[in-house]
């Protein structure tokens, strides 16, 4: 037990040391991220001091960029499952190699999700009220209480799986299947649940016809499975370029297939929704009309959504063409679809539900600079976390960071009565 603990703390120390090593590009990247994170922290401190009046939200449009980013990121987090399913269920060896990088992304992104929810709270000092057992949890009635459970559960599951596998690899021992396989399979269903629950958060509101549509949950899944693996493709290419970890082309091309199919489904489901809204042309079309064409002279979201439409269309075209088998175009297609989906699922899904209000007012929403800074800060912090995770994991995967090769292995136990290894 004591040795295990000591071994583990040596691992943690060596892992931390690993994050302090790197060339100038690594330090430039980390410094940039740290600076943006701090700018965000500063903006959030201002928000704490003056209240949410520092944002562009109002009693009419009561959710904005924070919840929009949250929604998008829940999707990104769940996307790790698109690597896990082929790797573990179908035994795909190529994807098995990179699955842990996807799960690490999930961990970083869930942390971002939790941060985005926290910054949206009017009274973050009362966070204990939402802790099951300590506060007064409205479970199972409130969908938000479900979200608290599924998000934190997903974070714990992925943190456990990644931590356990990486540590085993570091020790050079074979992971005990019982300690991770059940969790991997639970995490598959859990990933679907974080999406579904987050979609139900919106779908369950009868007073907001724009959200009150059964297709929202499937749309969430489809767009997540586009943007998430798309992000992983880009991350893998960065890893391939800047580290000595080999990522096979086959992996990227398999991911391309996933992104391709998801994007087709995503665009199809969007089309279904638009048909329902505009062909029916009932009073409930007002929000969709505001989003796409503007309503009574108000058209704040129109440029956003058409940008998203254009990006998604180009991305879809690229993904369908053989051109995207070349990695340059694949990167472009992924980047375009990530931005397109970020707009469509963020600004495009959250804001119009509030415009017009349930009693017919039109109050537009313009995020403030402070709000943008908080968002940028959380994104930078998330990327910082992911970089740190990769910086630790990749030397372990390539075999450079191993227990045998480090000082920790050779240490004799202090009491001397229980020699290791010799």
């Amino acid at each position: 037990m004591f040795e295990e603990l000591r071994d583990y703390s040596v691992f943690v120390l060596r892992a931390l040391r690993e994050t302090l090593l790197g060339d100038w590009r690594y330090f430039a990247w980390m410094t940039a991220l740290a600076v943006v994170s701090l700018l965000g922290l500063n903006a959030y401190a201002k928000q704490l001091a003056y209240g949410l009046v520092t944002t562009g939200m109002s009693s009419e449009v009561s959710w904005g960029l924070y919840i929009a980013n949250f929604t998008f990121l829940v999707g990104m987090a769940a996307a790790a499952v698109m690597l896990v399913i082929p790797a573990y269920v179908y035994g795909d060896h190529d994807l098995h190699d990179v699955v842990i990088l996807g799960e690490l992304l999930a961990v970083a992104v869930i942390v971002m999700c939790l941060l985005f929810v926290t910054v949206d709270l009017g009274r973050p000092d009362r966070f204990t009220h939402i802790i099951p057992g300590i506060g007064k949890f409205n479970w199972p009635m409130s969908m938000l209480s479900w979200d608290v459970i599924v998000l934190n559960g997903y974070l714990a599951l992925n943190a456990h799986i990644c931590g356990y596998l990486i540590y085993c690899e570091y020790k050079g021992t074979k992971p005990t299947r019982l300690f991770y396989i059940p969790f991997v399979f639970v995490a598959i269903f859990w990933a679907i649940s974080i999406h579904t629950v987050t979609a139900f958060l919106y779908v369950g509101l009868g007073g907001r016809p724009y959200w009150n549509s059964a297709i929202i949950a499937p749309r969430f899944l489809a767009s997540a499975f586009t943007a998430g693996p798309g992000f992983i493709i880009i991350a893998l290419q960065v890893i391939r370029r800047f580290t000595d970890y080999k990522v096979k082309d086959a992996v990227l091309l398999k991911l391309r297939m996933i992104v391709q199919v998801s994007m087709i489904i995503n665009v199809f489901l969007l089309f279904c929704e638009l048909f329902k809204e505009f062909y029916t042309d009932s009073a409930h079309v007002a929000s969709a009309k505001y989003l796409f064409f503007g309503l009574h002279g108000y058209n704040g979201l129109v440029p956003w959504i058409w940008t998203a439409m254009a990006l998604n269309t180009v991305a879809l075209g690229l993904l369908m063409l053989p051109a995207s088998k070349s990695l340059k175009y694949l990167d472009l297609a992924c980047a375009l679809s990530i931005i397109g989906i970020w707009i469509e699922k963020g600004m495009g899904l959250i804001i119009p539900a509030f415009i017009p209000t349930p009693v017919g007012d039109i109050v537009e929403y313009n995020p403030t600079l402070n709000e943008w800074l908080v968002c940028a800060g959380i994104w930078a912090f998330g990327m910082l976390l992911y970089t740190v995770f990769l910086k630790i994991t990749i030397p372990v995967l390539t075999g450079r960071l191993r227990r045998e090769s480090g000082a920790g292995w050779k240490l004799s136990p202090i009491l001397g009565s229980n020699p290791v290894g010799e």
């Binding site: 040391r17 302090l20 090593l21 740290a34 600076v35 701090l38 700018l39 922290l41 500063n42 401190a45 704490l48 001091a49 003056y50 209240g51 949410l52 009046v53 939200m57 009693s59 009419e60 009561s62 959710w63 929810v117 949206d120 709270l121 009017g122 009274r123 000092d125 009362r126 966070f127 009220h129 939402i130 007064k136 949890f137 409205n138 009635m141 409130s142 969908m143 938000l144 958060l201 919106y202 509101l205 009868g206 007073g207 007002a286 539900a353 509030f354 017009p356 209000t357 349930p358 009693v359 017919g360 007012d361 450079r400 090769s405 480090g406 000082a407 050779k410 240490l411 004799s412 202090i414």
Partner: protein, 318 residues
């Protein structure tokens, strides 16, 4: 053998590992120092936060879990806070629902002229923020020939009311029997009282605003900034679940003036209405005015299709 006796093993991958690590740790130390300094600078605006919760406030229980003594302490704390912030001596009570009473509200859309006297009487009675203005009642200016709120106007600025070809429909919390806001709240900070009022524990609300997204009537408002009220405009007759001044970051809404109605008075909006369009009473009493109106008039329920079963009705005389 002590740990320091061991020499670090050779690391062929990083031949200069020892020198690298020494200078790296020095650099890391400097970087850490810089990071701490930068973080402290980033957190500088926190100096302006003036509503950090006290120890008692942080550990204050949910309204329904407070014992009698704890409730008394909470009320006293609220009184002291009001005194400190506004310099006013207020009485803060916690009037309970009256046995055998269920409140309901009826509004005569045929008579309302859209003068918005109710809006301001409400704000005064309930100690809402004046800067920025927080209002519980929205008076909608409706085009004759339609009862669709989606084509209404709320921020009309006519010199005189009513204007030709329009009628008016005030909207406030409908105190729904199947309230979506109660279902939505993740921390049970809002619930239905036995007399039908949907109450909020303003000291428990975490400000997530999910209830606002859930409300089909746009009845809930949020304190985006610290509420500002002139001390001379404070209504000193306060109740815990009712009209005490709020802190920033919490949601509030109409609560049928419970500090008045639970003592047998009418809500402020009913009292101020110059046209007598607003009616209020106990629907469990078959002889009450409200029961008679619901029985004999043509009654309309706003957004009946969302199925929230409001305790707020609109009616027509003719």
């Amino acid at each position: 053998m002590s740990i320091s006796d061991e020499s670090p093993p050779e690391r062929p991958e990083l031949p200069d590992s020892r020198t690298v690590s020494r200078s790296t740790f020095l650099q890391a130390g400097l970087a850490a120092l810089g990071a701490v300094g930068a973080t402290a600078a980033a957190l500088e605006p926190l100096k302006k936060v003036d509503d950090y919760p006290s120890f008692e406030e942080f550990f204050q229980k949910h309204y329904k879990e407070l014992s009698k003594e704890e409730m008394a302490a909470v009320l006293e704390r609220t009184r002291v806070r009001v005194k400190k912030k506004f310099g006013v001596d207020a009485t803060v009570g916690d009037p309970k629902p009256i046995e055998g009473v269920e409140f309901a509200y009826a509004l005569n859309i045929g008579r309302c002229v859209g003068c918005r006297k109710c809006v301001y009487a409400c704000m005064k009675e309930n100690n809402q923020s004046r800067e920025p203005q927080v209002q519980y009642i929205r008076v909608l200016k409706m085009k004759k020939g339609s009862i669709n709120v989606e084509s209404s106007q709320h921020l009309y600025e006519d010199e005189t009311v009513p204007t030709k070809d329009h009628y008016y429909m005030p909207v406030q919390c409908h105190q729904c029997r199947k309230a979506p806001c109660v279902k939505a709240c993740p921390v049970q900070a809002t619930w239905q009282e036995p007399d039908g009022i949907i109450a909020i524990d303003y000291d428990w609300c975490i400000g997530c605003r999910y209830c606002m997204a859930a409300c089909p009537y746009g009845a809930r408002v949020f304190n985006f900034a610290e509420p500002k009220i002139k001390p001379e405009e404070i209504n000193t007759n306060m109740s815990y679940l009712g009209n005490r001044p709020k802190k920033k970051g919490v949601v509030e809404k109409c609560h049928f003036c419970m500090q008045r109605t639970r003592k047998g008075q009418y809500p402020a909006c009913v009292e101020v209405c110059p046209t007598g369009s607003r009616k209020f009473g106990n629907i469990l009493d078959p002889e009450s005015e409200i029961s008679k109106i619901l029985e004999t008039k043509r009654v309309y329920i706003l957004k009946e299709e969302v199925g929230t079963l409001p305790r707020f009705y609109y009616y027509f005389d003719v």
